[in-house]
Symmetry: T
Subunit: 68 residues, 12 copies
């Protein structure tokens, strides 16, 4: 029961969708951290170029279990 988690903030960016931006944030975090457990989307914004949505940006809190 004595698990402890750390929660970090990562900003994922995608040209296709917010879901994809979230996945990119999680997968990037997974490339250097193990035991990722859950995520929470806290902001959704993006860049506009030429009058169209050019980037979906998702700010995601990601929690991972600390080693014991």
């Amino acid at each position: 029961m004595d698990r402890v988690y750390k929660r970090i903030e990562v900003v994922g960016i995608s040209s296709t969708s917010f879901d994809d931006a979230v996945k990119k944030a999680v997968e990037k975090a997974a490339s250097t951290l193990h035991n990722l457990a859950w995520f929470e989307v806290i902001e959704q914004h993006g860049r506009i170029d030429g009058g169209k949505v050019a980037e979906f940006q998702a700010v995601v809190k990601i929690a991972f279990k600390l080693d014991q």
Copy 2:
């Protein structure tokens, strides 16, 4: 004009997308309640498994008209 609504909180879960998680929440509520009118997404989080997004979870407020 004297309509009254009740608003409940439902958590929908999907392996594919947040939109789908929202739909699952609404459709589950519709299976036992009638006169559903609108919904509001208040939280978006999810579960990570093996370094990848495994579940999209949408917390949705759902409003339905009370019978008169």
Copy 3:
């Protein structure tokens, strides 16, 4: 460096997805304003019809650069 931006609120509506609702809001704004720079999603809600999600509504803040 002395750029100034204005930020307005637009509600986009789509029958297919929240991403599409965001795009519709941005594209409508682009039809009368130029120099759109970024957007921020601040609310996500929708209409239910017949127990199913009928409309995805995204409230989006849209920023554009003011002419000098």
Copy 4:
């Protein structure tokens, strides 16, 4: 001392005032629940028709004591 309350969200609607919208929400809740104890107004909005306020809508949290 071991009372437990449940708190629900009800949306009352009135053509005359926000106070009346709150009363309608409370009285509707009272028609099916007993031991209502207090309420909290959490949102106030409404519908506009023909350039005039057509409806006052009050979202109200209503608390009632659970039976023992």
Copy 5:
């Protein structure tokens, strides 16, 4: 279904009540904009004079449909 709305902030002021301040904000907006659809009260404050409430001020978000 492809409606788009704009939402603006207006501050109505009344010497009599908050409901009246809301109505004044809506009616002023209606004098220059058409297709007003809904409003949301986001702040309620006022001025005190001689130890009495002298003004009720309601900050109201007002949404109107953009022409197609």
Copy 6:
């Protein structure tokens, strides 16, 4: 220009309306403080008795100018 204000929180209670609850809070504050300048409503709740609204309670921040 070198005015300084203090802002206190007062809860006014009325059997008739929220506007009246606000007025009662302001007038009570005025009975012991002078130079009241403005107020801000930050919470609106109340007591229910016998299935009806028995009390409107308004939590009001009240600002007054400090003597120099």
Copy 7:
């Protein structure tokens, strides 16, 4: 994966501690609902009597899995 949860608000009250108030809220909910899964504390307040804390009140969101 297609689980759906409902989240309700319960107010637990205890004369001894906030932890105990949370437990009372959860155990009361468990007396009529099954499959309770998690809780979230959203408010902590209480009653004072004779200049001492007389009651600890915890407002708790409680989630439970809906039957399929």
Copy 8:
């Protein structure tokens, strides 16, 4: 019914627990004010010393009835 309350903010500090910090805040307030009615915990923080929790600090809003 024409009660009016004032609500103040007090920070209680304890070396043992948050519940005790709340009690200390309330009891200190009671040493100079009478008719304390309720409290609300709005922040919980603390000081760390030598890698251990050294102080629990509870910021508490305390309401008391004003004399008539």
Copy 9:
């Protein structure tokens, strides 16, 4: 007493300070609107370049009186 105000959001940017960013936002708004009355700072952020603060950005709500 029957004044009505509109409140818009403007983002001022300065290389020197947040105060200057606020002034730039207000002065730009004043170049096309008259009767500006007050402002509220709602966000403060900026751009970093070469490890140093390169831009102070202030998001400011600006209120102006509508003509009668």
Copy 10:
């Protein structure tokens, strides 16, 4: 360890800067209270005159230790 603090809200006003407005709030509070310990800026707004910032207003929570 058994210190108790009270936290009050003061609005400082300056014609030159927000930092100066904060200082004015703190120094005014210090003229009647002793043992001031810390402050927190919770709102920043101001008055506009002739299209220019005329006043910087800082709402500041100020904490001071209560005598034992």
Copy 11:
């Protein structure tokens, strides 16, 4: 005076109490970081098992001084 702190988010979990969950978060952080200075509790939730509180989870911001 030129201290700089970093603030991280840690989730402590305990089977006995929220205070204990906070302590576990702080003590885990102390096992790899030095100069921990203060903490802030920002969320309190938990897991329910068999209709009883099985875990108290405290999300804690923890600040520590950066080396110079």
Copy 12:
């Protein structure tokens, strides 16, 4: 387009101004991290000594691009 950012919280402290506190936070972060991109001020507080502002403390979220 597939950039990913991490966002951390740093507390800068200055004896002169909030702007300087922000700069100190950013410059300290830049001493160990590269590719800093933007910052957001989320809290402004400080220490009082002898009835005067002794320290300006700015809590700043700082974003930097992760290496690919």
